[in-house]
């Protein structure tokens, strides 16, 4: 039983990471039709930004509020980079989806290589608040605290995004844009502002995922973002490409399947079963789990 609880909570923690990366991806894809390969680079930048702040910025560090400060810095850098990428590189290629994908592919290679050039390819130990390394007893299982941090953050983000999309005017524009972009433009609304916003918010979530991924794994390396990105892509596709709630459900599914299969079968089987899951879902429901939009 305790193993089961531990695996479930760890799976949910992993799902939280996937959700943070995938929510931005699915919003960007839903609204702009861009499959953002640079998302993994935003994640890496967020992780290294947090790490750099904790090492170098006065007041930032690995304990309590000073760690929050460091994370805020990392997320701010990730957001800034994402917004700049949208404004300078994606926007000029408006409506040219293949070129936009190609540009993000180039960026993902270049940005990760730049991080590797500056800080080396070896993993760096990540500053973690001491309490995240302790465990809490839950139903007889000793669960590391960072799992709770991950899950809580993801739930918070999910609620915030849903409230934002459903209650604000900009949220309405985004939802309408996902549904039918041409119609929204025809109504005289400038969707491009929403593009930048969605890209920046997606970048912020990815950067947050980078920082939390650092806490979860204990170290960061430049290639981390890319490997997480592939699973995030799978989550997005299973979740139906442009639905936030679908993405959340798919993230939980993928995270749990991966953890349980990796434990009860053999290491690596979990990753394989996730791909199998993708194939099954796509064959059974080519539109993903949800055909409806957030």
């Amino acid at each position: 039983m305790s193993t089961f609880v531990l695996l479930a909570v760890t799976g949910l923690g992993l799902a939280a990471l996937y959700f943070l990366v995938a929510s931005g991806l699915s919003l960007i894809f839903g609204l702009m039709g861009v499959l953002n390969f640079a998302h993994g680079a935003f994640l890496t930048i967020g992780a290294y930004g947090t790490w750099w702040a904790a090492e170098n910025l006065p007041g930032a560090g690995d304990g309590g509020w000073s760690f929050v400060y460091a994370v805020v810095f990392g997320v701010a850098v990730g957001t800034l980079v994402a917004a700049l990428v949208e404004l300078l590189l994606i926007r000029p290629l408006y409506e040219r989806h293949i070129e936009q994908v190609l540009v993000t592919v180039g960026l993902s290679l270049a940005l990760v290589a730049l991080v590797r050039a500056i800080w080396g390819s070896d993993p760096r130990p990540f500053p973690r608040p001491a309490w995240t390394q302790r465990t809490t007893s839950l139903l007889g299982a000793q669960v590391p605290n960072d799992r709770f941090l991950l899950v809580a953050t993801a739930v918070l983000v999910l609620v915030a995004v849903l409230v934002f999309l459903r209650t604000t005017r900009v949220g309405l524009v985004i939802r309408a844009g996902v549904e039918n972009r041409s119609m929204v433009t025809a109504l005289g609304i400038d969707v491009r502002k929403a593009f930048t916003l969605v890209f920046a918010v997606g970048g912020a979530f990815a950067a947050l995922a980078g920082a939390l991924g650092g806490v979860y794994l204990g170290s960061i390396s430049p290639g981390q973002g890319t490997s997480l990105l592939i699973f995030a892509f799978i989550v997005v596709v299973i979740g139906g490409m442009s639905s936030i709630t679908g993405t959340a459900a798919a993230a939980v599914l993928v995270g749990l399947v991966q953890q349980f299969a990796n434990y009860y079968a053999a290491s690596g089987v979990g990753d394989l079963s996730v791909v199998l899951l993708l194939a099954v879902v796509l064959l059974a429901r080519p539109g993903g789990l949800t055909a409806r939009v957030a």
């Binding site: 894809f29 839903g30 039709g33 499959l35 390969f37 590189l89 000029p92 290629l93 409506e95 040219r96 989806h97 293949i98 070129e99 994908v101 190609l102 540009v103 592919v105 180039g106 960026l107 993902s108 290679l109 270049a110 940005l111 990760v112 290589a113 730049l114 590797r116 050039a117 500056i118 996902v178 549904e179 039918n180 972009r181 041409s182 890319t226 592939i230 892509f233 799978i234 997005v236 596709v237 139906g240 490409m241 442009s242 639905s243 290491s267 690596g268 990753d271 394989l272 996730v274 791909v275 993708l278 194939a279 796509l282 064959l283 080519p286 539109g287 993903g288 949800t290 055909a291 939009v293």
Partner: protein
């Protein structure tokens, strides 16, 4: 369907590939020193090895262009078939102790069966979903190789190939020239096959699918079968590339299984010009050459003495190649082949169909745009008024 049939036979460009082939085949007899471009004389083992690597990747890039440029299938899993080629051949030679011939047969069988299986599933969806399924299946290959099941694949270390089953002519530094010719033969084979199939009836259907899949359906053809055919053919050609790569390097490295490897192929094809045969080959050759030379450059004293803000970015070839790629997408749409055809148009003073009846190279990406808007149809794009007819 083609309007320039009469012109084709007369154009000197028809013989250009043959001339290039002869020059490349005779190259190892040259002791020319090309300062700056290569370290040693042209027929030194180091230079030949680099050139052979360039030729292999030229061929693999061309096999990817068959999918992406000619049919409009944006696969993110081409690395899987290349990796299958190198690892299956390696295991057959090293673990089973087979000769090169049987190993090649087994690799061919796998090189057909694997893309048939993956394509059979992946091609049931289109657009971005297709890309994702291919990406995910290639990731399975990568995980499998890294997990090192039963100590077979050597994990991160890679897997050296046993020397005994390989003919002596293909082993050792002294025989680099033979490996070079092997790589050249592979490239020539891929080029011939691709030329032949893209000019065949199936090739015309592929190009029609790229331009407007719905119209192909309306004409009463089933795109699925044609797409599966090109997927398998491209996979098989890539698998052969994997075998040549194995013989060239004397081992398999897990680097060729990763998503980055496929992205590299995509960069090669776009750099050279998607939908152009010589463009894709040139892209592959150039990318491989730059990747290798920029690594050397980074270690050279000229770069090491630079101030840190210049030295650090220059030390990563991938940073420079990624940046170059973004610049090409922005400023040279259509890559090198597109650039050349535009220059030719300008010089000729009139627009004439570039190449041999295929649409102008490099226009491919632009044509794909509509298809992507439509094909992305999973959920979001479905409601968009992109029907293209």
């Amino acid at each position: 369907m083609r309007g320039d049939g009469g012109v084709r036979g007369l154009r000197p460009g028809r013989f250009a590939p043959l001339v290039v082939l002869v020059v490349l085949a005779l190259l190892p007899y040259s002791t020319l020193q090309v300062p700056g471009l290569f370290d040693g004389v042209l027929n030194s083992p180091g230079t030949l090895q680099l050139l052979a690597l360039c030729l292999v990747f030229g061929g693999v890039a061309l096999s990817y262009d068959l999918l992406f440029g000619f049919t409009g299938l944006l696969s993110f899993g081409h690395a899987l078939y290349f990796a299958a080629g190198t690892y299956v051949a390696n295991l057959a030679l090293t673990e089973l102790g087979w000769g090169l011939g049987p190993a090649l047969l087994l690799t061919s069988a796998v090189g057909i069966a694997l893309p048939l299986l993956v394509g059979g599933v992946a091609l049931r969806v289109s657009g971005i979903a297709f890309s994702m399924v291919t990406l995910a299946t290639a990731q399975v290959g990568s995980i499998l190789v890294l997990q090192d099941p039963g100590g077979l694949t050597g994990g991160e270390e890679g897997l050296a190939v046993a020397r005994d089953p390989i003919p002596d002519a293909l082993v050792g530094v002294f025989n680099t020239v033979n490996k070079y010719w092997l790589a050249l033969a592979y490239l020539a084979l891929v080029y011939l096959v691709v030329t032949w199939v893209t000019n065949s009836r199936a090739g015309h259907v592929w190009q029609a699918i790229r331009e407007n899949e719905r119209r192909v359906e309306v004409l009463g053809l089933r795109p699925y079968g044609f797409k599966l055919l090109v997927f398998v053919l491209a996979g098989l050609l890539a698998a052969f590339g994997g075998v040549v790569h194995l013989l060239l390097l004397g081992g398999s490295t897990p680097r060729v299984t990763t998503a980055d490897f496929t992205l590299g192929l995509l960069v090669m094809v776009v750099l050279g010009g998607a939908g152009s045969r010589w463009g894709a080959v040139l892209g592959g050759v150039l990318y491989t050459y730059l990747d290798s030379r920029l690594t050397d450059l980074a270690a050279s004293p000229a770069v090491q003495d630079l101030p840190a803000w210049l030295r650090v970015p220059l030390s990563e070839p991938l940073f420079l190649l990624g940046t170059l790629f973004v610049l090409v997408v922005f400023f040279v749409p259509g890559g090198i082949a597109g650039l050349v055809s535009r220059l030719r148009e300008r010089r000729g003073g009139r627009a004439r169909p570039a190449g041999d009846g295929t649409p102008p190279p490099g226009r491919v990406v632009e044509q794909l745009r509509d298809a992507a808007g439509r094909g992305a149809g999973v959920g979001a794009g479905a409601g968009r008024p992109h029907d293209g007819t």
